[in-house]
């Protein structure tokens, strides 16, 4: 019988995570004790302060880590430590992803707090329990009720997102997956307008999400059976050493990949993406589309590179197929859409394919020539550019409205360029960035992932990616032509004036997309300094 040892948790390194989780708990308490009239102000300020504080903590931890190992990051080697008894790896990539997720979450929280667009109420249901179209709902709406629970729920989701890419064993990864998903399922069903769509989206997301996480868990169980431990390092060791039970390893890898590829929204597991993106309240779609993808790709990279890096030739062919399929399916189906949110959803599927192209590149800093970037760096850069442009684009979608709330049907967007030249120009800019036009961040991101994949010999995937990009340009230009060169239908779209919250979120997204496209150097430098995953 071994003696019980008190676990050491490394509170300092885990500070960003603990701050977000702590503020979420405080938010729940505030919900119970603060009078209704003050809840909105309390919750929004609490959420924003908490997220910014967590961001500051991330920077402090990052500075502390780079001081500890000032030699290490010069050549892009791994630096960091494994905290909380081997369950959480706080290393360069983790800290980069934490920073990125927290920036996206801060912008997302601003969109959550927007109340000017819908006449003084938020985009979330006044009273979720009141049935759509009943007296109860009308009463809730006349009394101006709103669910301020959405802020703590969002913070819980953020804490799951922070834990997800940092998790160093499969059990922590599973728990983080659920912590990030469960609040999102609920938030999906809370739209103020078009509540039937919203509830349907919540149910579809929930059932499919639970289904995919069961696959993830069975995969984790099989890898545990194979390696005798859930820790990624132990799995990596077992993969390098053991030659028996390869079938269990292969099946386990496949099942884990199903769970993670579902979360990133790669084909053939993309079925939920358009429905959920369309049905969910737009501020949530903006936040979820950006931050979930970042967190899930972080976890996917860690699992594939750290845990299964020695078994690369088993999973790489599978990812080839998934990447090509995602790009083809995403691009072709986006062409047939007539709803802006669904179009952006399918475009996100295509972008998942582009990011997966980057995942296929070479991993080690010692395996690449001077001046080239590693696959991890390319993917991290792409995630940063993609997250900011997607969040901005969905924030713009929330501005175009008519009497019934947001109007997302493409035909209603005709003539937007005449109605609101500035908003149309910003949206056109986001679309061009998604298409990967030079001088936008999308171009640098695509160039980075294509070049690492090419260096690793995955040229068929890159050919498919370039073709898909070309088709996608047609898609995005089609929308721009619609906005500028078509006559408006009826009395045309109207664009609501946002409060400063949404305006800031859109401006940050647009500014980042432009700046990262013109001077990508500093961010590329930052991802290079992030180094590799700690093993």
């Amino acid at each position: 019988m071994t003696e019980f040892v008190k676990p050491s948790l490394d509170y300092f390194q885990l500070l960003p995570l603990l701050v977000v989780f702590g503020v979420a708990c405080v938010g729940v308490v505030a919900e119970a004790f603060v009078p209704r009239a003050y809840r909105y102000v309390t919750q929004t300020s609490l959420t924003l302060v908490g997220l910014v504080a967590a961001l500051a903590c991330t920077v402090v931890v990052a500075l502390d880590l780079s001081e500890d190992s000032d030699l290490a990051h010069a050549d892009g080697r791994a630096h960091g430590l494994v905290a909380a008894v081997g369950t959480v790896a706080v290393d360069g990539p983790t800290l980069f992803l934490w920073g990125l997720i927290l920036v996206l979450a801060t912008l997302g929280a601003m969109l959550f707090g927007e109340r000017r667009l819908d006449g003084g109420v938020s985009a979330f249901a006044g009273q979720a329990a009141a049935l759509p179209g009943t007296e109860g709902e009308r009463e809730a709406s006349t009394r101006g009720l709103e669910h301020t629970e959405v802020y703590p729920l969002m913070l819980f989701a953020v804490s799951g997102m922070l834990l997800f890419p940092a998790s160093n064993d499969l059990l922590t990864m599973f728990v983080a997956l659920e912590i990030l998903s469960l609040p999102l399922y609920l938030l999906c069903g809370l739209a103020r307008r078009r509540r039937l769509l919203s509830q349907e989206a919540a149910m579809k997301y929930f059932l499919l999400g639970a289904f995919s996480s069961a696959f993830f868990l069975y995969g984790a169980a099989l890898l545990y059976g194979y390696a005798g431990s859930m820790e990624l390092a132990a799995i990596s060791e077992a993969v390098a050493g053991a030659t028996e039970n390869r079938a269990m390893l292969l099946v386990g890898t496949g099942l884990l990949a199903v769970g993670l590829l579902f979360k990133v929204g790669a084909a053939p597991f993309q079925a939920w993406t358009p429905d959920v993106y369309q049905g969910a309240p737009t501020p949530l779609t903006a936040f979820m589309a950006a931050a979930t993808k970042v967190a899930a790709f972080g976890a996917l990279l860690r699992l594939l590179y750290v845990g299964l890096g020695n078994d690369r030739w088993s999973w790489a062919p599978m990812l080839w197929v998934v990447a090509i399929l995602s790009m083809v399916v995403g691009t072709l189906l986006a062409l047939t859409q007539n709803d802006v949110k669904r179009l952006l959803a399918y475009s996100s599927v295509a972008h998942t394919g582009f990011i997966l192209t980057g995942v296929l590149g070479l991993q080690g800093a010692d395996r690449i020539a001077e001046g080239e970037i590693t696959s991890l760096q390319a993917v991290l850069f792409y995630l940063a550019t993609y997250g900011l442009m997607t969040l901005g684009a969905f924030a713009v979608v929330s501005l175009v409205r008519d009497a019934g709330g947001e109007t997302t049907h493409l035909s209603r967007w005709a003539g937007l360029g005449k109605e609101a030249p500035f908003v149309a120009a910003v949206f056109a800019f986001f679309l061009l960035a998604m298409a990967g036009i030079p001088l936008t961040s999308g171009f640098i991101g695509k160039w980075a992932v294509f070049s690492v994949a090419l260096a690793a010999g995955a040229w068929p995937v890159v050919v498919a990616a370039v073709l898909a990009s070309a088709v996608a340009v047609y898609l995005y230009v089609k929308v721009i032509v619609l906005m500028y060169f078509r006559e408006p239908v009826g009395d045309g779209p109207s664009v609501a004036t946002p409060s400063v919250l949404t305006a800031v979120a859109i401006s940050v997204g647009a500014a980042a997309t432009l700046v990262l496209g013109v001077v990508p150097g500093p961010l590329l430098d930052l991802v290079a300094r992030a180094g590799e995953f700690i093993r």
């Binding site: 979720a128 329990a129 049935l131 759509p132 059990l171 599973f174 728990v175 659920e178 469960l182 399922y185 609920l186 069903g189 509540r195 039937l196 769509l197 509830q199 349907e200 989206a201 919540a202 149910m203 579809k204 929930f206 059932l207 639970a210 289904f211 069961a214 696959f215 868990l217 069975y218 984790a220 169980a221 099989l222 545990y224 059976g225 005798g228 431990s229 859930m230 358009p274 429905d275 369309q278 049905g279 047939t336 859409q337």
Partner: protein, 99 residues
């Protein structure tokens, strides 16, 4: 004693759950099938823990139970809302979002 039968049983349970999710129409039954899949995972985890002689798998099984309980709370809330709105919990009826 061979532990293979337990693994085979867990694989069978997992498959029954997965097939159930894909074929059943009632959201509650679909959800129960998901829970069956999670329990199949638990059986596999506990069996592997016995095989390897460490406690990781058993501890994981506890975590999975807690997560499954949390999932029930969220899932039933969502399915209840859908049922109250539509008077039906069939996953086929909720089909406004498509194409």
């Amino acid at each position: 004693m061979s532990l293979t039968p337990y693994i085979v049983l867990s694989a069978i349970l997992f498959t029954i759950g997965a097939v159930g999710v894909l074929t059943r129409r009632n959201a509650l039954v679909v959800f129960m099938c998901v829970e069956l899949m999670l329990n199949a995972c638990n059986l596999a985890l506990v069996t592997f823990a016995k095989q390897h002689g460490n406690l990781d798998g058993q501890v994981a099984a506890f975590f999975v139970m807690v997560v499954a309980a949390a999932e029930v709370v969220v899932g039933l809330a969502i399915i209840m809302t859908i049922f109250r709105t539509r008077r039906s919990a069939s996953v086929d009826d909720a089909s406004l979002l498509k194409y």
